[in-house]
């Protein structure tokens, strides 16, 4: 979706404001919101792309006015109801109407394994032959789906060169929608600054965007 989360290339946000000696968490609720997201994520009822897509639905004004872990909290509440772990009524009242069926909370002793788990978005490279290789000129498609996508608006309908083929990964677009794991080569594509930003870009600036194969077509 062309959501408010897609911030690349916007002006008007002011300076970056690093905080010296920043703590990992600023508030106790941030700790808990972080851990609740991980612990419920481990239950396996949604995947990381569904998680991102849920956060992207936060109303735009609210998204910009809130902090990172508030985005996480919004997404978590949305997913809990959407995936049936909690009813809308339970969320509204914050009182349970019955214990969860068929799910077991992650225990302390499960945590190390969960965090070490290497099962991720990568799929077998032999599941799909690559359409492109390093050095190929490609054009990103002009896609504006209402669903989840990982091609930022600033990098659509632009010509770049494949820097490398990362191998085969789960295509996020379909994964967010149905959970189906569609294999797709993912390429780092190099875009020259002027291609993305016109005459205002530095001539020696380049942006690398990781692009899934369905986002790309050959460029002459």
């Amino acid at each position: 979706m062309n959501g408010i989360h897609d911030l690349g290339g916007m002006h008007g946000f002011g300076p970056v404001d690093p905080e010296p000696n920043e703590p990992v968490f600023h508030h106790e609720w941030e700790r808990r919101a972080f851990a609740l997201n991980l612990a419920t994520g481990f239950l396996g009822r949604w995947n990381i792309d569904m998680g991102r897509y849920a956060r992207e639905h936060m109303p735009p004004a609210e998204y910009l006015a809130t902090t990172y872990y508030e985005h996480w909290l919004y997404g978590l509440e949305r997913l809990l109801v959407e995936k049936g772990l909690v009813t809308a009524n339970e969320l509204a009242t914050m009182r349970q109407n019955g214990r969860a069926q068929g799910l077991r909370a992650i225990a302390v002793e499960d945590v190390p394994m969960m965090l070490r788990n290497r099962r991720a978005a990568r799929m077998g490279d032999r599941l799909a032959p690559p359409r492109f290789k390093a050095g190929d000129r490609v054009r990103t498609k002009n896609l504006h789906p209402t669903g989840h996508t990982r091609l930022p608006r600033y990098a659509r309908d632009k010509i770049g060169v494949v820097d490398r083929d990362h191998g085969v990964f789960i295509l996020p677009d379909e994964h967010a929608k149905s959970g189906t794991k569609v294999p797709a080569h993912c390429y780092a594509v190099r875009f020259e600054g002027p291609e993305l930003w016109g005459p205002h870009a530095g001539p020696r600036d380049a942006v690398y965007v990781d692009c899934f194969e369905p986002y790309l077509e050959p460029a002459p």
Binding site: F13, F34, L115, A155
Partner: protein, 216 residues
């Protein structure tokens, strides 16, 4: 006109906690607490597991891990070669594996190429080597500006690049996680891996800072 509804105060942390002398709990504090209770009551989460998760990312996993990777690469050419060729495997040699670091790519800074990492769409970040991201990395200004005005952003961090240095911005739009291998500063000859790691800052591994030479 410009206050937001949500308090972004920089109060001391104890203000978060309940107690007779604490400040009133904010909406979001109350909400997270109520949500945790609900999920515990439903048998969906175990508060002790939450404690373990928090402790892991607050005290055990952090940029010190990445600094060791960098220091080792500076000292050991064979490791550096492996690191650039198969970053995930080389980093795993040091035991740094897991969530948000499953597929790593290391980018080498040189006198002529400066790499910097951003995630414009959310805030993807290599947890096993850098821990959780700082607020500025997750903020609107960094996400919006780094791809369109990288030199301006770098200048704000104190990095003023000559015109002939190429800037490569890496937008983490997929499941690859990027770690910058900064240039080894002069004046660090003869140092041990441990000593070198002390110089390597988190910001230098995101690509928004250089590693400063040691003070004499």
């Amino acid at each position: 006109m410009s206050e937001h509804h949500h308090d972004h105060d920089h109060d001391h942390e104890h203000d978060d906690r309940p107690g007779p002398h604490g400040a009133p709990l904010s909406d979001v504090q109350l909400r997270v607490r109520a949500l945790e209770s609900l999920l515990v009551d439903k048998g969906l989460v175990d508060p002790k597991a939450l404690d373990t998760l928090i402790d892991t990312y607050e005290t055990k996993v952090g940029p010190r891990n990445g600094a060791r990777v960098v220091a080792k690469a500076w000292l050991d050419p064979a490791f550096k070669q492996r690191l650039l060729a198969d970053s995930t495997a080389a980093i795993a040699e040091l035991g740094y594996i897991g969530r948000q670091g499953e597929d790593m790519v290391v980018l080498e800074n040189t006198p002529k190429v400066h790499n910097v990492v951003v995630c414009t769409l959310c805030s993807c970040y290599p947890w096993p080597v850098l821990g959780l991201p700082p607020v500025w990395y997750k903020s609107g200004p960094y996400r919006a500006r780094t791809v369109i005005d990288p030199r301006g952003v770098l200048r704000e961090f104190g990095v003023d690049l000559a015109d002939d240095v190429e800037v490569r911005v890496w937008d983490s739009t997929a499941e690859l996680r990027y770690l910058v291998l900064p240039e080894r500063p002069v004046g660090t000859e003869g140092m041990t891996e441990e000593q070198l790691a002390d110089f390597v800052t988190r910001d230098s591994m995101i690509g928004v800072a250089r590693v400063n030479p040691p003070r004499r």
